[in-house]
């Protein structure tokens, strides 16, 4: 018998090598207790959370929790059904209504996760003979959406407007084209030049989908994302997002002004063939989304935190993913995987949690310590974080 698992041997070996250095396994951390959006107990120790994507700190918002409890009691713990059968409750409709208002768009469709939203929309709208043009640093859900569909996939160099334009021009003029972009790229926290990219896409007759997972609620005048900030939201045919970051729960969505958008509810398989979100989840999401419409104070504080952390880490001598703070993600570039794991562990011992990101999920084979800030981090916590980074970086000898 051929062991179908032998193909995973290199991966198993990579992990064994890492663990043999004596480092704590970075991928089996348990949050024993969660005290707030920014503090949890890990290994019995109070730990500042700096790697959660909980940008707006909505997870413990009083109104959000009350809405969830109320829905749990009124509608029960789950829908036990697909959105197209018995799984659409009043709460799912209200959540979609909140999204339409938030984005000021005609249509909104809620999926069980953001991953499924990309998977479903991309695989459904780009069919045989069509082309999907994607940035090579795209999120796994975008790649998987391409792999699941029947269209041809054309990757182009990260954030390279010229590379995108050239490829668009080489495609048959009359073929259906979907350009998929992200507002914020989550590995390095850099922004896409959406203004130029949307322009060249439209000139080539392509439809545009923008994944704004990492910008909702704090980038753009109304928190609609990088496409709003750069003034091209009206030219974006589809915006995909998630409830698992700024909104503070779980779920995904697509909003659009396309007049025929509703047909997506029948043709997106990851929408049809899976159970809908529990009533408590859509109730918390709707409440959170409505509160995010009025979150300008929190937004300003989040930006202040990002700027302070970025400037502070740079001054300490760390190498960062972006020259300037562009989003609420700050990626600290590690010299290699072993050192990265050592700094990660030293930070955890200091009581600071960040995301360790390793190849192949990272661009150019980098090892990154990804920090994501929260509007609920106090200015004192940010100073604390800098002190912990300084001690950990010096202990490992990378600064």
């Amino acid at each position: 018998m051929t062991d179908l698992f032998s193909k995973f041997d290199p991966l198993i070996q990579q992990r064994e090598e890492l663990l043999s250095t004596g480092v704590t396994d970075p991928f089996s951390l348990v949050m024993e207790e969660v005290k707030s959006p920014t503090v949890a107990i890990c290994n019995g120790k109070e730990t500042i959370l700096l790697g959660t994507y909980n940008y707006m700190g909505m997870t413990f918002d009083e109104d959000v929790i009350a809405a969830g409890k109320d829905a749990l009691e009124k509608y029960g713990s789950g829908t036990t059904g697909s959105r197209v059968l018995n799984g659409t409750y009043q709460g799912h409709k209200e959540c979609e209504e909140a999204l339409r208002e938030f984005y000021d768009m005609d249509h909104a469709m809620v999926f069980s996760t953001g991953y499924q939203a990309n998977l479903g929309i991309i695989s459904a709208i780009a069919g045989k003979g069509d082309y999907v043009i994607i940035d090579i640093d795209s999120h796994a859900s975008i790649y998987d959406g391409c792999a699941m569909g029947n269209a041809e996939t054309v990757p182009f160099r990260h954030n390279d407007v010229e590379a995108l334009e050239k490829r668009l021009k080489r495609l048959p003029a009359d073929a259906g084209k979907l350009v998929v972009l992200e507002g914020v790229y989550s590995m390095l926290g850099d922004l896409a030049p959406l203004k130029e990219m949307v322009r060249v896409s439209k000139e080539a007759g392509a439809m545009v989908l923008v994944d704004e997972a990492h910008s909702m609620g704090f980038i753009g005048e109304n928190g609609r994302g990088v496409c709003e900030e750069q003034g091209v939201i009206d030219d974006c045919d589809f915006i995909i997002g998630t409830f698992s970051k700024s909104v503070g729960t779980v779920g995904g969505f697509c909003v659009s002004n396309h007049p025929k958008f509703d047909v997506m509810r029948r043709v997106c398989r990851p929408y049809v063939f899976t159970a809908s979100l529990p009533p408590s989840v859509v109730a918390t999401a709707a409440t959170s989304i409505r509160k995010l419409m009025h979150g300008s104070n929190k937004r300003a504080h989040l930006w202040e935190n990002s700027k302070t952390l970025h400037g502070g880490l740079k001054a300490l001598g760390f190498e960062l993913g972006t020259e300037t703070p562009q989003s609420a993600i700050i990626a600290v570039i590690m010299p290699d995987l072993a050192k990265g794991a050592m700094v990660w562990e030293a930070l955890l011992e200091e009581g600071l949690y960040v995301n360790l990101a390793i190849p192949p999920a990272t661009p150019a084979g980098m090892t990154l310590l990804r920090c994501s800030l929260c509007a609920e981090h106090t200015s004192e916590q940010v100073q604390d974080i800098l002190g912990r980074f300084e001690r950990a970086g010096k202990a490992v000898g990378i600064i």
């Binding site: 090579i136 391409c146 041809e152 996939t153 990757p155 182009f156 160099r157 490829r167 150019a364 084979g365």
Partner: protein, 80 residues
């Protein structure tokens, strides 16, 4: 139409800067096995080839191309 030998020589020239191992190049040379390219190197190289011949090699096509000879044939077809 370019003749196949000419195309093969051109392709060799494009591969050379990425041929860190100094592997011998023939029609049978494989990208993953002999050249030991990872996915990032493949992406950079493909972009290079696309721009050189003003063509597009979709990911779907890339999945079918394992050897240098197959790439030469594919590019000859695309550049026609």
């Amino acid at each position: 139409m370019t003749d196949r030998n000419e195309m093969f020589e051109k392709m060799k020239g494009l591969i050379e800067p990425f041929n860190k191992k100094g592997a011998e190049l023939s029609d049978e040379t494989t990208f993953a096995g002999d050249l030991e390219w990872d996915s990032l190197t493949v992406m950079d190289f493909v972009a290079e080839v696309e721009d050189e011949f003003d063509i597009i090699i979709t990911m779907n096509m890339q999945a079918e191309i394992e050897k240098v000879g197959q790439l030469v044939d594919a590019v000859m077809k695309l550049a026609e």
